[in-house]
């Protein structure tokens, strides 16, 4: 079974300060993990993905995430927030075991990031 828990429904930071969005996952097998961002009235955009290569994954717009198998975590970070980062962020797991629809995504409930000037 697959599941994703995003530990914070809302995160607020000041512009220029670090961002941390937390995610824990549960999967029967070593999964692929993703972070997607959704701006208002826009489609979901892939930020980054982990597919069993390097555990520290760099994405677009300065975001990165670290896969920690022992903690079953995949937290998203950015050293310095920008106003344009304000959006909804989804942590996503995609199982790779046989019997699962390849590429079927399981989304967390989302974290709304607010960036204050």
């Amino acid at each position: 079974a697959q599941s994703v828990t995003q530990l914070d429904s809302h995160v607020s930071v000041s512009e220029g300060t670090p961002v941390l969005l937390r995610c824990n996952y549960s999967s029967s097998y070593s999964p692929s993990l993703f972070w997607y961002v959704q701006h208002p009235n826009k489609g979901l955009q892939l930020l980054l993905k982990y597919t069993s290569a390097a555990t520290l994954v760099k994405g677009i717009n300065g975001f990165e995430a670290e896969f920690k198998k022992s903690e079953t975590s995949f937290h998203l970070t950015k050293p310095s927030a920008h106003m344009s980062d304000a959006a909804e962020y989804f942590c996503v797991v995609s199982p790779v075991d046989r019997g699962s629809t390849l590429g079927r995504l399981y989304f967390g409930r989302g974290t709304q990031l607010t960036v204050w000037p």
Partner: protein
């Protein structure tokens, strides 16, 4: 390069009406997914096509929901006798291949409101 296109962008239906939501995937993309995103929630899987074959429809919430992709390109999600709980954003996504490593490209969605 066009992305995934969904129409209509917004749809208001009276309870009991049938609706049809259209998805134009990126040209040449083999895989196509439909997701449902309720207000304040993450998207949830509805169904998956590989070309014209519907390989997984386990996420469809009831037999009022039906999806098709007859020629392996455009897909239509149909909801019969809409109910208020069907109000949500319906997202379509496509992918070039069938590998889990390939990224999904999402459309902007159709926001369905059932009154």
């Amino acid at each position: 390069g066009a992305g995934v296109s969904q129409s209509p962008r917004y749809k208001v239906a009276k309870r009991g009406q049938d609706v049809a939501l259209r998805c134009d995937p990126i040209s040449g993309h083999v895989s196509l997914f439909w997701y449902q995103q309720a207000l304040g929630q993450g998207p949830e899987f509805l169904t998956y096509f590989q070309n014209e074959a519907q390989l997984d429809k386990s996420g469809l919430p009831s037999d009022r929901f039906f999806a098709e992709r007859p020629e392996g390109s455009v897909s239509t999600l149909k909801i019969q006798r809409t109910q208020q709980e069907d109000s949500a954003v319906y997202l379509c996504a496509s992918r070039r291949g069938s590998s889990y490593n390939s990224p999904l490209h999402f459309g902007n969605g159709t926001r369905l409101t059932v009154t």
